[in-house]
């Protein structure tokens, strides 16, 4: 079988490798180029031994870089068998990779200007989940590139034909449609958590006022703000000398950037919701949204890894929620966030149904939109249906406070000193708040373990729910600190193909149970995840 032999890159690819080697050692090369430039006026290197040594010193790294490029080229080989794509590569760090053909998601053949000049092609082979492209076969001849692509696709299609879900894809029909009115979007925008938008703006204002108070200017007007921003005035100390305001200015510019970006994010989020349309089809969810930038997302149902829905303090009272489909591959694509704002909890079973048919969410009687009491009843019904939850250990409160929240609040206190002295005194309330924050966090963290899925409910001001099917778990990690080892506790990290869920300070037995059951369910599941 000639197809089962190792293949190497086409000859011109050696230039690509050298250029990429130069790129990865760019800093070293720049340094030596700078050295050579400094010595440029002393023309002859053969007159003095010193200069000759220096020349060698400059040239050797260049040789090394070129050699490393050539070696990378020489060491690269790949092979495509019936089941695997195998790649051996690397000079200093050697790698042997084998990717099952079934797991390959896409094959792209590309050519940029460099490749076009050399008349070769770049083949990108991609699997799911990783943030960057899995394998780049950089530099093969045209016919070989397309042959490779062709072969992977034929091998893959043989697999796909036997997949019943793909065969059923022909009969697509719209099951459920959902659109947002402009009134709803306005309500959604107003109830957005504006704290992170206003806080930097207010702090910027305070800081500008403080800088103004430190100058000897008497009148305050708007033109003055800009002059203050650019530091046109000298600050005066108590003794009448010049005060050092460098740190204040650094903070000021950070706050300005913060206010700018947080308001930009806010407006983007809101504008992105206009013309919102969701169509649930037999095997996929289609979301279209956006006023200025249009986003269109198609999520095959089986690619949904887990679902999370959340709400903040105000929205909780009004019964406004946001649901997010976390699906495999969403990490990579910008703006592909699958967000569904909804204004009626009764929609929840419908929205979760593509992931799993849940039966704990029963619509309460007369549960109208915004009917506060009905909503509360409804919220309670989740708890009453699911029974007693597992909770995180109370030692989380003190432990997390000492090792995480206290250093954080110290940093915040120190920073606020440079914003305004009054804010400095005020900021001593931050650690006090964090204590209550941790108490509420520990009290509100609920985990329900059910035969088919796991539900997590958490939140201090707002609430966030997760629903994860056991078989969607990719990897389970138990992480234990010395204290947790002494008191039989554990942190648990649930890794899915979309993102990770962190559960702190649960009893070790529960963690082990979750781990064992999760592994058991994963090992028993026979459906494709992607």
């Amino acid at each position: 079988m000639e197809n089962n032999l190792w293949k190497r890159l086409a000859r011109p690819a050696v230039f690509v490798e050298i250029i990429s080697a130069i790129r990865s050692y760019a800093l070293i090369i720049l340094y030596f180029a700078y050295r050579a430039y400094n010595r440029a006026e002393e023309i002859s290197i053969f007159n003095s031994f010193d200069l000759f040594l220096d020349f060698l010193f400059n040239v050797i790294p260049a040789f090394l870089v070129i050699i490393s490029g050539v070696m990378e080229y020489r060491k690269f080989k790949y092979q495509l068998t019936e089941d695997y794509m195998m790649i051996h590569r690397g000079w200093i760090r050697r790698e042997k990779k084998s990717i099952p053909i079934d797991k390959i998601q896409s094959v792209q053949v590309e050519q940029n200007w460099l490749y076009r000049m050399l008349n070769i092609y770049l083949v990108k082979v991609d699997t799911i989940g990783e943030s960057d492209v899995e394998v780049e076969v950089g530099g093969v001849r045209k016919e070989e590139a397309f042959q490779l692509k062709q072969r992977v696709q034929t091998l893959k299609s043989q697999i796909r034909e036997e997949d019943p879900e793909m065969a059923a894809k022909e009969e697509e029909e719209d099951v459920y449609r959902y659109e947002l009115t402009n009134k709803q979007i306005t309500r959604y925008a107003v109830t957005e958590n504006l704290l992170w938008v206003f806080l930097p703006i207010v702090l910027t204002g305070i800081l500008i006022y403080r800088l103004y108070a430190m100058t000897d200017l008497s009148q305050f007007n708007f033109a003055l703000i800009f002059q203050l921003l650019f530091g046109d005035y000298d600050a005066i100390d108590v003794e009448g000398g010049k005060a050092d305001v460098t740190i204040s200015y650094v903070l000021l510019y950070m706050l300005l950037i913060g206010s700018f970006s947080s308001s930009l994010i806010f407006f983007n989020r809101i504008l992105g919701l206009f013309k919102y349309k969701l169509i649930m089809r037999t095997s996929e969810i289609f979301i279209q949204r956006g006023l200025i930038n249009k986003f269109e997302t198609i999520i095959p149902k089986r690619k949904i890894q887990y679902i999370t829905w959340y709400t903040n303090l105000i929205r909780r009272r009004l019964g406004i929620y946001t649901l997010n489909y976390k699906y495999a591959g969403s990490r990579r694509t910008l703006g592909a966030d699958a967000i569904v704002p909804f204004f009626d909890e009764g929609m929840l079973p419908e929205l979760i149904s593509p992931y799993h048919k849940v039966d704990f969410l029963k619509r309460g009687e007369n549960n109208m939109e915004g009917d506060h009491e009905a909503n509360m009843r409804y919220n309670n019904s989740i708890s009453s249906y699911l029974g007693q939850p597992t909770q995180i250990d109370k030692s989380y409160i003190a432990r997390n406070f000492i090792f995480v929240k206290l250093p954080l609040s110290l940093a915040l206190i120190i920073l606020s000193y440079w914003v305004h002295p009054y804010l400095f005194y005020f900021s001593f309330l931050i650690p006090v708040y964090f204590i209550f924050h941790n108490i509420w966090f520990a009290r509100n963290f609920h985990i329900w373990l059910l035969p088919e899925y796991i539900i997590i409910k958490k939140g201090v001001w707002g609430r966030r729910h997760f629903i994860v099917k056991w078989e969607k778990l990719q990897k389970l990690t138990l992480l234990r600190t010395p204290y947790q080892r002494r008191s039989n506790l554990s942190n648990l990290i649930l890794c899915t193909a979309s993102s990770n869920i962190f559960i702190p300070y649960i009893p070790l037995d529960t963690a082990e149970e979750i781990k064992d059951y999760g592994l058991y369910k994963t090992e028993r599941s026979i459906t494709f995840l992607f």
Partner: protein, 178 residues
């Protein structure tokens, strides 16, 4: 709450067992410790030269020079001890259905990755590892990896083959609907 599965794959907590009997995790090759210590040594030499240059050329008081040198030595020593102690915690286990790895001294982690979720598996050998005849195996799932250092190349090779076969078999099983 959880239905009792017919299939059992229970762990015994390795820490509750006497050390001699803790056979759940295979410790990595004991000689791999020298690879770990060599990287500390390399850092010590490179860093030591830099610190020596800095101390000799700067115009600080003798006390400060002593403090800096002593601090550097202490740091290296502590690091070496940490590497040594942490090394004893390292171990991997391949069971019928999953791969697991244990590491960490202060923050002890145990990672579990079922075969059914493995995307691919690669062997990587750095220069230092090749010098000591070792290899690293990286088992990747869609979300996260398990990196097992300190295997002999032939063990890594057979482990890779074994994982590949297993993944392939599971894939076929999934395709044919069991």
């Amino acid at each position: 709450m959880i239905e009792q599965p017919s299939f059992s794959n229970r762990w015994v907590d390795p820490e509750s067992l006497p050390r001699a009997g803790a056979e759940d995790f295979t410790p990595v090759e004991s000689e791999y410790l020298y690879v770990r210590l060599t990287s500390v040594l390399i850092f010590f030499i490179v860093g030591g030269v830099l610190v020596a240059l800095f101390v000799l050329l700067s115009s600080m008081t003798f006390l400060w020079k002593t403090v800096i040198t002593g601090g550097f030595l202490l740091l290296i020593l502590l690091w070496g001890i940490y590497v040594w102690l942490e090394f004893r915690q390292r171990g991997y286990a391949v069971r019928e259905q999953d791969v697991s790895y244990r590491r960490g001294l202060i923050f002890r982690t145990r990672q579990y990755l079922p075969f059914r979720r493995i995307q691919h598996c690669k062997i990587s050998e750095s220069m230092l590892e090749r010098l000591f005849n070792f290899a690293t195996i990286v088992v990747s799932a869609a979300g996260d990896d398990i990196v097992i250092n300190g295997l002999r190349p032939e063990v890594a090779q057979s482990l890779q083959t074994m994982i590949n076969d297993k993944v392939d078999q599971l894939n076929k099983e999934m395709k044919n609907g069991e």
